[in-house]
């Protein structure tokens, strides 16, 4: 099982940071009393149930809601046209304003919301929604990301970039294309590298659509007042919700309040706008509070992880040095862009992998298709890229008859060397992570390869990620007259333990016990701006903001002591307040704001001298048993090693690391959304299997290597995604090692393995 001893306790002198204290909310979670959105009931509240599109692409001919309207207990039936009474241009999205609150004129995927029924009883709303009839003129649809490049089917007639990001401006008004964004990187002379290479290797890899499946499905409630709204929502991005809803309504931000309790999981699903715009419009139309709780099935129609196709070509010398690499990546974004264009670029530039390669050429494309929209899922595109480049690494090593570890050692990107963008690597312990993984795997020792029908193999893989930049976090630390304090921050605790980490950071910077620090949950009328809880950015960005806010409060307390002529060292904080205000009264408020320095990538070359404030590094090692009679793969040992800087809370870091790797193991071995003409055919946990307790490897080991992010708060950096990076290719490499077959598409199901075994024996199975 997990090896707690490896997570060295590296506590700071005052001891708040670097200590594995239990989560602040631990008691509330084991007693069932933790506050989640589904607990909320508002007086007079209506429930909404959504009627969804049954075609992948079509013009709406007719919507008949007459039967639904007559169902006893129905308050109102709302269509896309009705929404325009309160939001004239009802299109939203973080990168493109392409997604309508309810479909009007067109539908672009099966499952797209078309009509909502409101009723005080959710069962009534559900029954009425089933009586709605819609007719469509079907249009040609496109589902595959590579086909979408040149398809006759055009998902959006015209591109509508949001204007939020300056590097998307050139796309404004572009017509008749499914390419939402193309990102290109040009470094060195790739053509020459290929011409001069001893060997050229080219492979194509694919990944499948999978789903976040937070056990708490999407849920939002909105309480409308006379000239303001309060949005209660399970969201990872309260500040974004406020800004975007204010924009849609044409209201100032101070009339839109967004409150977020604990989340029952997020994993990138609950970002930007999901139900918030719809429920806001419904509440304004109904003039009553409205709540929508999606069912598990409906999550499958809301946001997925990008399927992708990746072509990768390498120029390699005879002694195993990579001299050039060309990557082409097609991301299947589904019907609405969501954050896909950012993934295309911000992850796209790491497509060549954590290797020191002189000549690099990357083309990365975000494609619209007629599938449910895709967005961020624990890695922001990185697991798809690592799947390709680390499968490719082993395939090259095998061809060259080199040890896969040696091949990686020979090419690894070291600190002080430029990454593909030109940014010089700093505080990225790539080589250390690789060596710690090799040591834990006992790579040099002979390995038991199994006998008979059960063959054993092992594989490794390593990946890296740049944190998305530049982004802003602001925090307030409020010291009360009894000496306790609260941290106000809009970071959402969705299970990653941010409340606890922020309390530890505040305690450290303020010099008080962690037990005296509380964390105020996101409430945009109270807690300051934060870009969002995503991409492993909170520990670094909000961590800095909290550290600065606590430092500011500390400075103000010291100034207060000086003003009162008291010794700051010996006077208890409550004494300062009593002396100043004559009683237990008053506050000392510290403020901290953080944005890292950043140089945007050049539009022509994709290069930047300062592309990210920090790098995350994650490697995985897998030992597997493959049953040659059934194709069944059993992962017997999974080792996860990362550079997370200096952990704020080692125990929580280990759980994050292990949980990320296990989630990715499900994506590796069996999770897959199946589609028939754009219709998801396995939209339930009965048909879409997620990882259960029987699926975990017998042995899991996790390690955050001894490292420090010099620019991070107390040496820390993000960790939520790093555990996902290496898992899929490590398992595929281990399967190849065990039975000599190479799978290039995820998931690595028994059927896929068995088909490959039969093909290798010259007796392929017929296709379905």
């Amino acid at each position: 099982m997990s090896d707690a001893k490896t997570m060295a306790t590296r506590a700071t002198p005052s001891g708040a940071v670097g200590r594995s204290i239990p989560r602040l909310e631990a008691r509330a979670k084991v007693t069932g009393r933790a506050e989640y959105m589904h607990n909320l009931r508002l007086p007079g509240m209506l429930y909404g149930k959504i009627f969804r599109s049954t075609v992948a692409h079509g013009r709406i001919k007719r919507i008949d809601v007459s039967a639904a309207q007559t169902v006893n207990g129905v308050h109102r039936v709302v269509t896309g046209e009705d929404i325009r009474a309160v939001i004239p241009d009802p299109h939203y999205g973080p990168a493109f304003h392409d997604q309508p609150i309810l479909a009007f004129e067109k539908v672009r995927y099966v499952g797209e919301p078309v009509v909502v029924v409101l009723a005080a009883d959710p069962h009534v709303a559900e029954e009425a929604a089933q009586q709605i009839v819609a007719e469509y003129d079907e249009l040609p649809a496109v589902f595959d990301e590579v086909e979408a490049m040149n398809s006759e089917a055009i998902v959006h007639e015209v591109l509508k970039p949001a204007g939020t990001f300056p590097d998307l401006k050139h796309l404004q008004g572009r017509r008749d294309t499914n390419i939402a964004l193309d990102y290109h990187l040009r470094r060195g002379d790739v053509a020459r590298a290929f011409a001069e290479a001893d060997h050229v290797f080219e492979h194509t890899f694919r990944t499948q659509q999978v789903l976040h499946v937070p056990l708490e499905p999407f849920v939002t409630a909105v309480d409308p007042a006379d000239s303001a709204v309060t949005i209660y929502t399970a969201s990872q991005s309260p500040s974004f919700v406020r800004t975007e809803i204010a924009r849609l309504l044409g209201w100032p931000e101070n009339r839109v309040r967004v409150k977020v309790p604990y989340l029952g999981g997020g994993f990138g699903a609950k970002l930007y706008i999901k139900l918030e715009a719809l429920v806001t419009a419904l509440a304004l139309l109904a003039r009553r509070p409205v709540k929508i709780s999606l069912s598990m099935e409906e999550q499958f129609y809301t946001l997925t992880k990008h399927a992708s196709t990746l072509r990768i070509k390498s120029a390699v010398t005879k002694d195993g040095r990579i001299t050039g690499r060309e990557c082409e990546v097609w991301w299947n974004g589904g019907a609405y862009a969501d954050i896909g264009p950012r993934i295309t670029q911000k992850s796209g530039f790491t497509a060549p992998g954590p290797y020191d390669i002189e000549n690099v050429h990357i083309d990365s494309y975000a494609l619209y298709t007629n599938l449910p929209p895709a967005g961020a899922l624990r890695g922001f595109g990185i697991p798809q890229l690592v799947w390709a480049y680390e499968s490719h690494s082993d395939m090259i090593a095998r061809e060259l008859e080199m040890d896969p570890l040696e091949f990686r050692r020979k090419n690894i990107l070291r600190n002080g060397r430029p990454q593909a963008t030109g940014t010089v690597m700093r505080d990225a312990a790539i080589d250390t992570v690789l060596e710690r993984l090799a040591a834990r795997m006992d790579w040099e020792r002979p390995f038991d390869r199994g006998t008979g029908t059960v063959r054993r193999g092992r594989g490794i893989a390593i990946g890296f990620k740049a944190v998305i930049s530049p982004t802003t976090s602001v925090s307030i630390v409020n010291v009360y007259a009894d000496g306790t304090c609260s941290v106000y921050c809009s970071t959402v605790d969705m299970g990653q333990g941010s409340d606890t980490a922020m309390a530890q950071i505040a305690a450290e910077a303020l010099g008080v016990p962690v037990e005296s620090v509380a964390v105020v949950h996101p409430d945009t009328d109270v807690t300051p701006y934060d870009m969002a809880t995503l991409g492993s950015r909170s520990t670094y960005h909000m961590g800095h903001a909290v550290r600065l806010a606590a430092g500011d409060a500390r400075d103000k307390l010291l100034a207060l002591a000086r003003e009162l002529g008291l010794s700051a060292e010996t006077t208890p904080v409550p004494e300062l307040f009593r002396k100043k205000y004559g009683m237990q009264a008053g506050n000392v408020v510290g403020v901290g704001s953080f944005i890292p320095s950043y140089t945007p990538t050049n539009h022509e070359t994709g290069l930047s001298a300062n592309v990210t404030p920090f790098w995350m590094v994650g490697a995985a090692g897998a030992e597997v048993e493959v049953d040659t009679e059934t194709g069944h793969v059993r992962v017997t040992r999974l080792i996860n090693v990362v550079d997370a800087g200096r952990p704020i809370n080692p125990r929580i870091v280990e759980t994050q690391l292990s949980g990320a790797a296990l989630m990715q193991l499900g994506f590796t071995l069996f999770e897959k959304m199946n589609f028939d003409a754009g219709q998801v055919t396995n939209a339930s946990l009965a048909d879409y299997k997620i990882l259960g307790i029987l699926d975990i490897p017998l042995s899991i080991e996790n390690e955050a290597v001894d490292a420090e992010q010099a620019s991070g708060p107390f040496g820390a950096k993000g960790v939520g995604e790093s555990g996902t990076f290496g898992v899929s290719p490590a398992v595929a490499n281990a399967i190849d090692d065990a039975v000599g077959v190479r799978l290039t598409s995820l998931p690595l199901t028994p059927e896929a393995v068995y088909r490959a075994l039969r093909a290798a024996q010259g007796a392929p199975l017929p296709e379905d």
Partner: protein, 160 residues
């Protein structure tokens, strides 16, 4: 949906209670709407994830599939049922000590199933733990920590 309401009487976390229920109401809805108890949560809606676990006459059931009217005369225990003084039991303490959850949405179900497991088998093997808890899903995948917590709880519950 003008269903006939029926009056049921049952024991909820040790207290006798009555409720008016429609025939289609499930146990999770009854606990949430009638009693403000939110620890049993509907997630998959198919009885596959264990988030809605409730004990009825001492046996764990999926509250999202269990009709509310069936608890008439029964003894119902939810995660909110606390010992006197609000003390945590050995299982809850072990889940905290081992950090056996992240988002916490599935935790009540795991705690209730673990209690039932340890009542039946005070000293389960790792294999028995995995099989007994295989009907509970944790998307944060804190499974290794959960297994550790069950073992710790078993040790804590042993009479000294």
């Amino acid at each position: 949906m003008s269903a006939t309401l029926r009056t049921i009487r049952f024991t909820l976390n040790g207290e006798p209670v009555t409720a008016q229920v429609a025939p289609h109401r499930n146990l999770v809805e009854l606990l949430q709407e009638g009693f403000g108890l939110f620890g049993a949560r509907e997630s998959c809606g198919q009885g596959l994830c264990g988030c809605c676990t409730v004990l009825v006459n001492g046996a764990a059931v999926s509250g999202c599939l269990y009709l509310a009217s069936l608890v008439d005369g029964a003894e119902v225990v939810t995660i909110e049922h606390a010992a006197a003084g609000g003390a945590l039991d050995a299982v809850q303490q072990a889940f905290i000590a081992c950090g056996a959850f992240q988002c916490g949405f599935c935790t009540p179900g795991f705690v209730l199933m673990t209690r039932q497991l340890l009542d039946e088998k005070p000293d389960p093997t790792e294999d028995e733990i995995r099989h007994y808890l295989s009907g509970n899903l944790c998307r944060c995948a804190a499974y290794p920590e959960i297994i550790e917590a069950v073992k710790l709880a078993a040790r804590k519950r042993k009479p000294n």
